[in-house]
Symmetry: C2
Subunit: 143 residues, 2 copies
């Protein structure tokens, strides 16, 4: 019952940007090195975060990425909904499950998924980065 | 945010056994064919379900598998806990996430996971097989 790496790393990117000092320029390469995430993977994540309105990307020399919105307005549940490839707890369709038309488990799993997301909906990226100095110091040592 | 196939198919096996008439002999091969699940995969699932006390396996001619307990005493949340390889929503340890010692997201994800399981804890295998005849008819057509 895991989130995809894509979503996991998306949340790390948003947290990383949140704890940077205001004038700090951040690049994809830097985040890749700090977290040990392959750069190619991160490029796709940053692209989608941009498309979904979480990031601004400035190209060229002196370019970089930054949050498009205040971290207190970035809801964790919304990020998970935007970044997960789908929100189905099980895949009933490949191969097609023969009991699908009469399955009562599916509704139970959907309710469980909704309860999961309802908890995440209570938190923003700001809520999970309450000690920016501490997180910055941890990230410095990992470089 | 999916359950593994291993857990998904475990639940299908338990539901399949629940809707069988009392004297029906069920084999792994039969379940494999009905659901289109590779037999080798199913053998491992049935083995673990047996080890966890959900199934009884009778070997040899006339053998087969059956529920070890009444379906109204088999809790969906318990099955998920027993069959999922781990209950972590994200993998913070490979590669090791540098912000782990100060991460506040982890507690939020754990709370969400607990809310997910708390919903499943409200249901048994009997609760999700309330129309055994209907499920049996769906499974017959898939054979």
């Amino acid at each position: 019952m895991q989130l995809t790496r894509f979503t996991d790393f998306s949340l790390r990117v948003l947290m990383y940007l949140t704890v940077q000092p205001d004038d700090q320029r951040v690049t994809v390469t830097e985040i890749s090195e700090r977290f040990g995430i392959p750069r190619n993977h991160l490029v796709k994540i940053v692209h989608q975060l941009g498309q979904k309105g979480y990031l601004i990307t400035r190209r060229g020399k002196g370019g970089g990425i930054s949050l498009a919105r205040a971290p207190e307005s970035i809801n964790i549940g919304a990020v998970v909904r935007d970044m997960e490839p789908n929100l189905k707890v099980v895949d009933c369709e490949s191969p097609i499950c023969p009991i699908l038309p009469g399955c009562q488990l599916r509704g139970v799993l959907d309710d469980a998924r909704d309860a999961f997301l309802a908890v995440l909906d209570q938190y923003t990226v700001r809520d999970v980065t309450q000690s920016p100095e501490h997180l910055r110091s941890l990230l410095r040592y990992s470089a």
